[in-house]
Structure formats: C-alpha cells, structure tokens
C-alpha cells in the first residue's frame, strides 16, 4: 500500500491541512477527508471547507513512518496522528469559525502551523 505516495507530477495538486499539516493531494482530501481532523473539519466531499482549511502553500515535507517513536513527530505535535507526509510549515489561516468549532466542540486547541506559534515559545 503506497497510498501516501504522490508522484512528482501530482505535486502541484498537493495541499496541506492547516490543522494537522498532513500533505495529500486535493482529490484525496476531497475523497477521504483529513485522516486526523475529519471529525471537526469535515473536508470529505466539501470543496469549500477544503479550500478554507487546507493550503497549497507549505514547506518542509516530513515523511512520518512511526509517529509514536519519532521525536520529529513529537516536536511537530504529530504524535498520535496517522503515518504519512506532513509539512513543517503551512501558510494560511484557518477561518475563525472553524477554529471556534474546533476548540469548542472538539476541545482541541488550534495551533497555527504557519510559524506564528513557534515564535511565541
């Protein structure tokens, strides 16, 4: 199973989730939703949500093989997520209402992935 592999030709269609930073093709997001955040982002089949909550602008790809053991995953707060390709930085801002839903309903504190959070540390 090589579901997380994206051939170079498809790289231009990649998007990164602004919440968990997982990187997948747009079509896969649309088909399957975000494997980590689907519960509150509801990206599956939802083009608008997809555009709002994922970004084409990201950098620093991470191939995550073992989220539980990897320090990189821990540092990136990816432990607990599924295996896959993630981004170190995802530009773009999650719309406020999505953040609100996320924090209220899912009780998940939103950490922006665009670098603004790290600077605070």
């Amino acid at each position: 199973m090589t579901e997380n592999f994206v051939p170079p030709g498809q790289h231009r269609n990649l998007r990164a989730c602004m919440v968990c930073s997982i990187v997948m093709t747009q079509s896969r997001f649309l088909k399957e939703g975000c494997p980590n955040c689907e519960d509150f982002l509801h990206l599956q089949g939802n083009q608008d949500a997809l555009y709002d909550c994922t970004s084409q602008v990201f950098e620093g790809l991470i191939a995550l093989a073992d989220p539980s053991k990897s320090w990189v995953a821990k540092w990136q707060r990816l432990d607990g997520y599924v295996k896959g390709v993630y981004a170190t930085k995802v530009s773009g801002q999650l719309p406020d209402e999505v953040v609100a839903v996320m924090e209220d309903e899912a009780r998940i504190r939103y950490i922006p992935r665009d670098g603004s959070a790290t600077e605070a540390d």
Partner: protein
C-alpha cells in the same frame, strides 16, 4: 494514639446525624470523616492505585462535587477546631501520598476527593472489613448515612439541567473519541518536547538540490511498501527543508535509531546519496532543523512581485486585498499592453476561433497605465464594462481600474520576500490626489522593505541603531559586516564599549538632524546630497543641496556624505576636466560641488550633473592640434582670441573636434571657461610665449619660431624631428644597474632611451647620457650627436671672429640677407664665385650648427661669412639673434655684440637694429610666412609642399634662369634658410656629422664636403623643404633681381604685420 479515644465519641453522632437533614454541628458531622480516615489508614497501602484513578476523574466531575466540597470543607473546619485531628490524619496519610499535594490549593480538592472516594470505599469496605466493624461500634448506622448521601448527590445531579450534564459527559468522553488528543499536546510546552538522548538521532543526507520533496515522497513510498514485511524500514521519519532560498537545501534529514537503518532505507533511492558523508545532527540543533518562521502576512498596500505571467515577471504589484486564508490576493499592477499593435494577424486560429497563443517575440511592452482610447483602436471588441466614472474596464479578460490591472492571484505566484521596491517603481502606485500631488504610502512601502535585508548595505563606520530585538536601542558604529551579521562597537548605553554582533534585520542607520548625507541605493534620488532636516522612524527627510527640494528616503538608503567638498575633485572628476555626457555632447567641468558637477557643454550651456550622469571622462589629448580661422595650428595651452563677438581671448584647455574650451582667468563666469569653435578664433601668440622668461622673450617674437610651434619653447634642446637618431643604435650602458650591458635603443625621448638588452629579453629605461653608442659593425664607439657638437663648438669659436668681421661690414647684410636677391643682381658674380664655397659652407654649417645647437649654426654662417664678411657677419648675427639657440647657447652672444641691431632688437634685431630696410623687410619676410599666404600658409600648413616647391623651384628654376645658378642656389639657401631653418632644423642639421669633419678641416674645402651631407642628413623632408623652400621661393619667384622684388613686395607686408 488519640484517635481511638476520639473515635469513641462519634458513635453518638450517627444518632444525631441520623436524619441527615439536620444542620450538622461539626462534632457530629466529623464522625464520618473519622471513620473514613480510619478505614483509609488501614487500607491506604493496598488501595493506592485505586485512589489515583478516581482522582483524575475528579476534575471532570468537579461541578458535581462542589457541594460535597463545601461539606467537606466544613468538616475540615470542624476538625481544625477540634485540634490535632487533621494534622494527625495527614501525617498518617503522608506515608503514602505525595507530600507536594499539601502545598497546593488543589490539594484540598484532591483531599476532598479522596475523602469522598474513601467514603465510598469506606462504605464498601465497612461491610467487609472486620477491623472496621471492630472500630466502629455502630457500623450499620454509618452505612446508612452513606446511602443517604449518595441519594442526595443523585438528586442534585438530576436537578442539573440536561445541557450541563451533556457538557459534563462530553468532557468526560470527548478525548477518548479522538484517541491521542491534539488538545493534549497543545498544552505541553515546546521546551518539554526538546529532544533527549533517548530520542532517535537525525542524520543529514545529501540529496540532489531541488529534488528534496520527491525524495521525501520516495521515502514515504518505500516505508509503506515495506511495512509489515520483514525488511520494514526502521527509520521513524524523514524530512526536508528545501526551497530555493533555504540554506538547508541539498539535504534531507532522516530520523532513525541507528545509522545503518538509514543506509537500508535510502539505498537505491533516486536523488539521495546516503553513501556520501552523512552528518549526524547534534541533539541541541535538532529543533533548529524544524524551525519555522512566520511569513509576515501581507496587508493591503504591501508590495509584491509577480512571477507569472511571464510578461509581468518581476513587475511590482501592490496588494489591495487578501482573502481570509491569506493564500489568495488581489493585486494591482501597471499593465504592459500593446493593444494589439504587434499582434500576429495571421496567427492560426483554433477551433474556437481564438488565436492560438504564440510566445511573445521581442521585448515586452513598457509599463503604461491602461488607456481606454488605445484599447478602442484595435480591440474595441475586447473592451467592455467600462464606465467613465468608475474608470473600470474589462479588456481582454482582465480588469483595469484607474489604469492599473487588477487581478486575483495565488500566493505562490508571487514573490513576497526581498521585494525591495524602488521608490521609482513605487511612485507608479502613488495614488494621485485630486490636486495632482502624489500621495505615497510610505508605511506600506516600509513594510515591504523592512523584511528585506538584501538591499541594506552597511559599511564599517556607519552609525547604526538596533531597533528590534533584545538589544533594541543600542547605538554604535559598525566595525565589520559579514553577510547578515554586523559587528558593532556600542557607543551609547549600558553596553558601551562592548562589541556585539547583530543581525542586519534589526538594524537601521542612524542620522541626526543636520547631518550631511548622500542618497545611495536604489531610490531615484540616488546621489542626491543634502542635509537631514527630519527623521521619523526610519524615514529621513533631507534638504537637497541643489535645488533646495525636500526629499524623503529610507535611512538605509543614506550614507553620511564624505567630508565637505572643496577639494576641486569629485571622484575622478576634476575641475576643468573634459567629460562626455552623451555620445554627442562633451562638457568641461567648471564647478565641482560636493556631490555634483557644473559643466559647460559644447553648446555653451551650463548644467548641473551628477557624477553618475557622466558617461566618461576624456583624457586630455596633449597633442591635439587644430587650426584657427587663419589656418594656423593651435594647440593646447596656446592663447587664442575670438574674432568678432566679444573678442574674448583665452588659453586653450581642451580641443574637442571643432570646439575649443578656453579659459580666461580674468573672467568670472564659469570659472573663466568658455567654449568656442576653432574657426572663430585666431592664434594671438606664439607657443613660446607661454613660458615666461626673464627679459624680453625673444622666442615669442621670433618669426622663425612661429613656423613650427611644435618645437619646445627655447631652442635649447636641439629637437630632433622625426625619428630620434639614437633609435636603432647599438649601445652600451655606462652607468646604473645595467652598466656594461649591450643593447639596442628601441625608443627614445629627448633624455631617455629604452634599451633592449641583448643579454636578456628586457627593455630598460636609461638616460641617454648613460649610453655609449657603438657602431653596429665595427663596435667602435661614437656619439651620434657628437658631430654636431663638434661642429657647434667650432662654429661657436669661429663665428665670433667672423662675427666681428661681419659686424664690421654690416652693409654686407643687405646683400647677405637676401643674398639671393641682392646678390642675384649685383653680386651674382661675387656670389657665384663664392657661392660654391658659401653655399656649401654656409649651408652645411648652418645646418650643422642648427643641428648641434646654436653654436653650430652661427659658425656655419661665419664660415660662409668667411668668403664674404659682411654677409657672414650679418648672417651670424642674424642666425644667432633669431635663432634662439644661438642666443641661449651663449656662443652666439658675440653675434649680438657684433650687430647692434641685434642687441637692440630682441628678436629680429637684425631688422630693426640693422636699420636696413631691406633687412627689416626680410626678417618680416620670415614672419610673413606665418600670416602671409605665400609664406605662411604654405610653410605652416605643409612643409612638404614647400619643400617640394622650393626644391624644385630653386634648383631648376634658379639654376636655369640664373646666370649663376649655382651661386644663386647656394647662397640663397644658405642665407635664408640658415637663419630660419636653423632653429627648426637644428636637430636635423645635427646630421651634419659630415660637416664636422669639414669644420675640423677648417678650410673651405672642408665645407664643400659637409654641405651635401648636411642637406642629406636632415632627412626630414620638412626641414629640407624649409630650407630649400625659402630660398627657392624667393629665388624662383624673382629669379633675377630678387632683392628688388623682395624688398618691394615684402616691405609693405611686414609693416602690416
């Protein structure tokens, strides 16, 4: 222990407490607690684990417990009142519980929770544990109370509204649903996530640049492919931090426990080179690998550059709107439209009738605001949606508002970093106000510029200020600059005296009001210089030195102007330099300001330019020659006068094509410089006039000098014309480091020679004095100049005597002078007789003398004079006087003495002094050449012409016509030419070598020989021409009675002159 005794009392309390509704006095209420405690004490050891879990739960159930807490607290209060009970209890429990808990307020809660839980346990245990039963006499009652409490709690819970309950439930279970919670990790501060030795290590592995992403995906693919197989990859992650501007490109980073795992994982992967040196990343550096810096959000008004489409690549655009996600923007930019001007009409059309796009050939159209009128010309079909009021149009699929093209673009198609807009570009976006003034949003510009450091240039010595970061406010002087780090010596504040390193990002240059600064960098005010009048933030307003206009620039674009001007130079430009402004314009610098120059161009216009506007500096061409309106040669440093107009005069400082830049120090305007054309001036002074000497300047009056202004001032140096005689000679060096070496003279000046050494392939500069000339064939030493010298010396001597003679019979002059003429008629015979001798002798010597110098000359004459004293005498004097050389040499002086006339008249004393009209006329005759068409034009312009003519004329003509042709020829030349040419020819004559011998002989016979040589020797056609010329001319013109003619013709001319 006291507890047992206390425990005794509780038995009553259950009774009183029994109803549970009664307000419970502490004492009574305390009993259950005690019971609990006891049981707890006993059970603690075993139940520790159980205790923990419920505790955690406790937080979430907090609301429910609030009431209980109150109760418990009451309990506690009671207990405290009752003394040591609480203390005791805690001590006991401390054996098993974390002491820390006691400190915190939460601890109370925990305790309470525990209490509560223990209560439950108690209930639980009470039934079963025999000890409890033993301790509690009224165990049953206690149980009952518990039940009742529980009921109460349930009641309370029931009373909470459903919503709250739902909330509680969700809180309790929400996390479980998402498994490992994001919320959880969010709480953990990053510093607790720092890597430890237990974490896997990270290695940096070389990777093909630009292929990092592909590599990561390839690794992902391999991970998944091998997952669950026996060769499952042992790496935990792999990542890249590539990017065109990243410093980490060319690497991927792989996280694994062992390096060997990486080798397995990466072998045979494309673009990854695990076999090259793999670098282990230090633990403390690991977080840096994943550092993320926020890209500053783009605000409306900020500037970006477009990457696409190609037509606009690199163009500046201004953000006018940003979507929520910040990933899409609306920007405006100045369009590049040609409105179909270069459209390929014949381009094939596809099925949809649209012209297939062809790559745009040639340069893209310039940036211009959209013009509706232009668009209508060819593309009215494509234009639409415009209303004049809104100034908004649709054209060819794009929207144009206020002339700008507005477009929705994606963030990734923009260059956001290091935009560095120049003020010039930015001014295109200046929103023009109603009144036409430009309103530039400097704040937006500053925001665009701030992040960019590429443009900021700091130099050691700049005064800088830190405006960002920990060292904010520190002021100092830059010591060194390395890439983005500036080392500065702090000059103010706490850190004074220290040297710190700061990133360029947080720096700005610091100026004070009144500083004199120069604009550098990429603004359109570049090179402006002015005084700082206002500083706000990093924007500095300065008052320009010229024009007195205020300009505002960023402090980073400023630099302290170098010391105040006044040195007369600006960079490589100096006052009075000739510079090229554009291909067709040259100008002379007439004023040097601190940072600008005032120039006078060839069209007589003065303008102010900056050094950067000057394309080139024209070196002074020392040998530039032009002709004035009279056809006279004019050269640098000569004084000329304008004909007509203001008749200004001035010294030539530049000759550029037909333009002369003259300087007249007495004129104020333009530093005394003015420009004129060569055809508008005439030369007013001889070249020699420039060099002032004490006493009357004879040279400047010497007509002979005028003939060839190119010669040096005084006659002193026997200028050789044409090729230096020493060139090509074999020489030995007599002095200096090369002493004794043999070589060949390759080049020579008056005083120095460049000698190519035989011994090694080297050419050295040696003073001519240090050379010994060797005959190429014989190797015999000789002095190429010596002959002349010889002759000279002799001449000098002889002449004196003769001079005396000559002087005695001044009368002879007339004849002598225009010997040809006079002689022609009267003397001819005499001449003739003499002629041979004279001619030869006179000539040659003359030549020689001139060659050698003055000395040689005179004597020559003298020789000639021998035959005819008067003649000679006159000659000598003449030659001497006229020929500066004679004068200067001093040898001649006698000549002076000889003829009063000479002494009196500095120049052509012969003329004035001599009192001989004829003579006078003659002399002038010489001068005439300069001004007179006959003589002057010919002579000056082309010696050759003369030479030719003269040559031809004299010999044949003279000979032919003249009865005594020989005589004619001979004498004339001698007489005439001797004087004049002498100075000129001086060098040539030097050739005279032959004569030398003649001289030596002292006899006339000797002379004969010399003459020819002399003639020949002079190589220079010019000189010969000269020589010959005069004579012949004269002769030729009036073969028979030249004297008469001459005098008549010439006299008036002279007077004119």
């Amino acid at each position: 222990m006291a507890s047992p005794s206390e425990d005794v009392s509780p038995p009553d309390s259950p009774a009183s407490d029994g109803s549970g509704t009664m307000p419970s006095p502490g004492r009574v209420d305390g009993s259950p607690a005690i019971a609990r405690r006891q049981s707890e004490d006993r059970l603690d050891a075993g139940n520790d684990d159980e205790d923990e879990d419920p505790e955690e739960e406790g937080e979430e159930t907090a609301p429910r417990e609030d009431d209980d807490d109150e109760e418990d607290e009451e309990d506690d209060d009671e207990e405290e009142i009752t003394g040591h009970r609480r203390k005791r209890r805690r001590e006991r429990r401390n054996q098993f519980l974390d002491v820390e808990a006691e400190v915190d307020e939460d601890e109370d809660e925990n305790e309470d929770d525990e209490d509560e839980l223990n209560e439950l346990k108690d209930n639980f245990i009470a039934d079963t544990h025999p000890d409890d039963l033993a301790d509690l006499p009224v165990g049953g009652e206690t149980d009952d109370r518990r039940h009742r409490e529980l009921d109460r709690r349930r009641e309370m819970e029931a009373s909470l509204d459903a919503e709250k309950q739902a909330e509680i439930l969700r809180q309790r279970y929400a996390k479980i649903r998402t498994g490992r919670a994001l919320g959880d990790s969010a709480v953990v501060p990053k510093r607790l996530l720092l890597p430890s030795v237990d974490d896997p290590s990270i290695w940096a592995v070389r990777c093909k640049e630009g292929k990092e992403r592909e590599a990561v995906f390839a690794i992902m693919k391999r991970i998944e492919e091998r997952m669950g197989t026996k060769e499952e990859l042992a790496i935990t992650s792999a990542f890249e931090r590539g990017g065109t501007h990243s410093t980490m490109k060319g690497f991927i980073y792989v996280e694994a426990q062992r390096q060997a795992d990486i080798m397995v994982a990466l072998t045979d992967l494309m673009n990854v080179y695990p076999r090259t040196k793999m670098m282990l990343v230090e633990i403390k550096e690991m977080p840096d690998l994943l550092r993320v810096t926020k890209t500053p959000a783009l605000e409306p008004g900020a500037y970006v550059r477009l990457k696409r489409p190609p037509k606009y690549a690199g163009d500046l655009a201004q953000v006018i709107d940003v979507t929520d996600t910040g990933l899409e923007l609306r920007v405006r930019f100045v369009p590049r439209l040609d409105y179909g001007l270069h459209e390929d009409v014949n381009a094939p059309t596809d099925a949809f009738g649209a012209k297939r796009k062809r790559p745009v050939a040639g340069p893209r159209p310039p940036q211009r605001l959209f013009s509706e009128v232009e668009a209508r010309k060819r593309h009215s079909k494509l234009l639409g949606g415009g209303t004049a009021g809104a100034k908004s149009w649709n054209y060819a699929g794009d929207e144009y508002v206020n002339g700008y093209c507005e477009k929705e673009v994606k963030l990734q198609t923009l260059i956001v970093k290091d935009v560095n807009p120049t003020l010039e570009e930015v001014t295109r976006f200046a929103s023009g106000a109603e009144d036409g003034t430009e309103n530039l949003d400097l704040n937006a510009l500053a925001a665009s510029l701030k992040a960019s450091t590429a443009n900021a240039s700091y130099l050691p010595g700049d005064i800088i200020e830190v405006y960002e970061g920990e060292q904010k406010g520190v002021i100092g002087k830059a010591i060194s600059v390395q890439a983005d780090i500036v080392t500065m010596a702090v000059s103010e504040g706490d850190l004074k005296g220290q040297t710190i390193e700061v990133p360029v990002k947080g720096l700005r240059k610091r100026f004070r009001n009144g500083d004199h600064v120069k604009v550098i960098g990429g603004s359109r005010f570049r090179d402006e210089v002015g005084m700082v009048v206002k500083i706000s933030e990093d924007r500095v307003t300065l008052l320009s030195d010229h024009g007195n206009t205020e300009i505002t620039v960023f402090s980073k674009d400023l630099r302290e102007a170098s010391d105040s001007g006044g040195s007369g130079t600006l960079g490589k430009f100096e006052l009075w330099d000739l510079v090229q402004l554009d291909p067709s314009t040259v100008a002379c610098i007439v004023k040097v300001d601190r940072e600008s120059l005032v120039v006078l161009d060839q069209n007589n216009q003065t303008r102010t330019v900056m050094p950067s506007q000057i394309s080139n500096k024209l070196e002074k061409r020392r040998h530039a020659v032009a002709t004035d309106r009279n056809g006279n040669e004019i050269r640098l440093d000569e004084t000329v006068k304008e004909n007509g107009g203001e008749a200004r005069s001035g010294k030539i400082i530049h000759i550029h094509r037909a333009y002369l830049f003259l300087r007249n120090p007495s004129q104020n305007e333009n530093a005394g410089v003015f420009v004129t054309r060569t055809t508008a001036v005439s030369s007013v002074a001889a070249k020699g006039a420039v060099t002032a000497s004490t006493g009357p300047d004879l040279t400047s009056m010497n007509p002979a000098m005028k003939r060839n202004p190119a010669t040096g001032g005084d006659m002193a140096p026997p200028k050789s014309f044409g090729r230096d005689r020493s060139i090509g000679q074999t020489v030995t060096i007599r002095k200096g480091p090369y002493k004794g070496l043999l070589g060949i003279v390759k080049e020579a000046t008056d005083s120095n020679a460049r000698v190519e050494l035989h011994t090694k392939n080297k050419t050295v500069n040696v003073s001519k004095d240090d050379l010994a000339f060797k005959d190429k064939l014989t190797g015999q030493e000789f002095n190429p100049n010596s002959r002349g010298g010889f002759g000279g010396g002799r001449g000098g001597a002889t002449p004196r005597g003769r001079g005396g003679l000559g002087s005695a019979t001044p009368g002879g002059w007339d004849g002598g002078r225009t010997p040809g003429a006079a002689g022609g008629v009267e003397r001819t015979p005499a001449w003739g007789a003499r002629t041979p001798a004279v001619a030869n002798g006179g000539r040659t010597p003359a030549w020689k003398s001139s060659g050698d110098n003055a000395g040689g000359r005179t004597p020559g004459w003298a020789d000639g004079s021998r035959t005819v004293n008067p003649y000679d005498g006159s000659r000598t004097s003449y030659g001497g006087g006229n020929r500066t050389p004679a004068w200067s040499s001093g040898a001649k002086t006698p000549a002076y003495g000889m003829s009063d006339a000479f002494a009196a008249g500095s120049k052509t004393p012969g003329y004035s002094g001599g009192g001989n009209d004829t003579w006078g006329s003659k002399t002038p005759a010489y001068q005439q050449p300069a001004s007179n068409d006959n003589w002057g034009s010919n002579q000056q312009q082309s010696n050759n012409g003369w030479g030719a003519n003269s040559y031809d004329a004299p010999t044949p003509g003279v000979n032919m016509s003249a009865p005594t042709p020989a005589a004619m020829n001979a004498p004339t030349p001698g007489a005439y030419s001797a004087p004049t040419p002498a100075p000129y020819n001086a060098p040539t004559p030097a050739a005279a070598p032959t004569p030398a011998p003649g001289w030596g002989g002292g006899g006339g016979g000797g002379w004969g020989a010399p003459t020819p040589q002399a003639m020949d020797a002079p190589t220079p056609g010019a000189q010969q021409g000269y020589y010959a010329a005069p004579t012949p001319g004269a002769y030729g013109a009036m073969p028979e009675t030249p004297a008469a003619n001459w005098q008549d013709d010439n006299q008036p001319r002279y007077t004119d002159n």
